[in-house]
Amino acid sequence: MSTSSITFNRRAFIRTSSLASGGLLIGFNLFTACKPKAQPPVDISQLNFNDFNAFIKIADNGAVTIFSPNPEIGQGVKTAMPMLIAEELDVAWKNVYVQQGILDTENYSRQLAGGSQSIRLGWEPLRQTGATARQMLVNAAAAKWGVDPSECTTSEGVITNSKGETLGYGEVVREAAVLKVPENVTLKDPKHFKIIGTDAPNVDIDKIITGKPLFGLDYKVEGMVYACVLRPPAFGKILNSYDDAKAKAMPGVLDIIRIGEKAKELAKEGVGNWTVVMGKSDKVVVIAKTTWEAMKAKEAISATWVDDSAMESTEFQDNQLLGLLDGKEFKTLRKDGDIDKAFSQADKILERTYESPFLPHNCMEPMNFFANITDEKIHLVGPVQTPEYAATAVAGMLGRDVKDVHLEMTRMGGGFGRRLYADFVYEVAEIANAIKKPVKLVFSREDDMTAGTYRPAIKYRIKAAIKDGQVTAYHLKEAAIDENMYGLIPNFFPAGAIENYQVDVANYKSNITTGAWRAPYTNFLAFAEQSFFDELAETMEVDRIKLRLDLLDKVKGTVDERIEYSPERMQNVIKVAVDKSGWGKKPEGVFQGFAAYYCHNSHVAEVADVEVEHGLPVVKKITCVVDCGIVVNPLGAINQIEGGVIDGVGHAMYGDLSFMDGKPQSQNYDKYRLIRMGEIPVVESHLIQNDLAPTGLGEPTLPPAGAAVANALKAATGNRFTQQPFSKFPELMKVPTKPLIG
């Protein structure tokens, strides 16, 4: 594998310009550059700076500013992506300023959504951009000196020629600005990286610790009013009537309006039920001078609702999903060999069913968005992970040209997938269009938790055949709500390792809005699969680590292009985890559980240590080994690993949103349990050092955590957890009074 896996046309996304204030501006299109299959425009000469969304400014005093359009949702890409540029530009990181989205161009609206793929996709183009800028500065200096550019070297923003003469970048920016963009630039050998691989603190750290306004909820303009929306109390209900007399008379209330027509049209046009939460119903909106006044007046509205469609309860969902698993209506996503034959010839068969609940995202910053709509402009500001999509949809909804839309992104108080869905942007656009005032839509925590785009409940049934001490068949069935696993997931481990292998999926459509949640599908599939492998090892009476390593051996040298996980890299993280966790060498009273998983192009192995305190098992430590290729910013990477692991443990232990007659049964943190400080394990992180291109890190440490914990709980209690959250089954948490053997 090479460190470069994406080809692109450099000329298509880099243009330079001199600045009136002195200095060089290099514009490039991150959005195009980071899309592996994006086609460059046919006519490059038609490009202007409005087609760019990211810029490097080198002032004539040598100061370097990188304007990053990339939203920060907490995964650290606002720090890591500019590091890639700065590395190849060859400037000192401490002299680089990173700013987000403040360049005042009319069409500054093409930001790239974040996620675990940002660094993987940006790895090549961002370094190419930095290297191109560096080469232009070198070419300008060489021309000034009358020497060949190859005689010049750079270091920390200074160009040196073979005679030892030096020029700072700032001294040649005017000349560089008029040069042609070089076609071929050489990237550094990873051995010579000075910035990549070093610890860089969060670029917003000073603002965060002093409470500067950074987030969507903090955005404010003169004359802005606040909107709170009354939505149906349950999925399946729609608005019948409402009485707002009392609310209208309350202090600060400016107006109460009914919205929904636009959203309904959008839903009818097939934009999808997930985009418009509770989109079938009209909603009542309070417009007030302040947030509190809007929230309070909303409570004073008395509304009646009518039943429009099924009102689902958790019990109904469970029955539907189990019915699907028991049934015969499946779509087959991968089929190797003949599982039926293998099962009929098996010595032993193991079958288990794994069940998970709905989960809300619970971003700490509730959903919110600002809009100001005039005849000239649609100004949208706030936290959303899909700005292009939101801007296009709002323009379509209002019958306006997308060029009228000016969308600015703020830092986001968490994403976890919730802000991929722009329902709150449509809502605020409809409100702003009606009232013609700058307005901020604010979700209360209750609104946020009850009008979500949830991780839906999902059930897996896994069945394996064992013959002559070998796993001869593996059958994975998925029953899900709305959508099934997608992409290459059916080809993850153990695909390729077992001769007879089949993945079947089925779903039913619910009126509860569902969507992506940190590590979609794999967040629970990893739990099912890695719990199953532990049971499989127990059934086969073989070592649980050896079983995994032996199966991975069989994948080596595969020519199956659908298999993108690397058996060698997976074996390596497993072996390192065994070593670092002291696997099998722990003193009496420490119960360990193992899990290994591949997703988001990264390989991860985790070991959970459970100890018994006051008669109950407690997760004390997780050892986490990650191979995500080159680590751009270890300081940020460790934070992601620790957070992902604890998030995985927390949701496996406590995460649970149930429904009764379409109504979410938890509305706030008094009833919805998130992991807290007193419940966290120690997380020991180990990063595999190699020269391979970087891969995802925001998500892949989460999925294996639940399985590692379940496997350790089995060791401690003798009980097998097949359903999440574990806290729902206190009877299984009981530790036998006699110590377990083995």
């Binding site: 920060e72 949702i73 907490g74 995964q75 650290g76 610890d199 603190p201 969060n202 917003d204 750290i205 000073d206 965060i208 610790i209 002093t210 409470g211 500067k212 306004p213 950074l214 987030f215 909820l217 404010k220 606040y226 202090p251 302040t290 947030t291 509190w292 006044e293 929230m295 971003c363 700490m364 910053e365 509730p366 830092r411 108080g413 968490g414 994403g415 976890f416 209360s444 925590r445 300081l635 940020g636 934070n639 992601q640 620790e642 957070g643 692991v645 604890i646 998030d647 927390g650 706030n668 943190y669 008094d670 998130l674 992991i675 807290r676 400080m677 007193g678 966290i680 120690v682 997380v683």
Partner: protein, 153 residues
Amino acid sequence: MPKFEINVNGVSKNVDVAEDTPLLWVLRDHLDLAGTKYGCGIAQCGACTVHLDGKAVRSCSLPIASIAEQKITTIEGLSEKGDHPVQLAWKEVDVPQCGYCQAGQIMTASAFLDHNPNPTSDEIKTAMHGNICRCAAYTRIHRAVEIAATKIG
């Protein structure tokens, strides 16, 4: 509407709001001090934590009428230059991921360390248990409180 005079970060402020208005919204919407965050509105998450006469309180559940002469300190007023030992420790450890809950975490930690400058690991866990960090940056929050304690103690 009634008028209230409150002392925020050492400055006297006059606000004209309903008496049940939570301090959180007075700070955010009336005084433009947006560092104090809204997370749950029912004193369960700690994002809105401020100091009232040096004690950590949940501003989302504190009606303006109950404050009277008590001195309010928000994240903006914790130190003049962002150099309170807790802020410096947060920076040293590079605690935040999304960063949204961190003002509340810092305010809880600073009030706690004022009262207990040499805490044990378990005392830190108990003190910080009421503040949710959805990104689960708890390991670093814990470490930063330990480091801040060494700077104070």
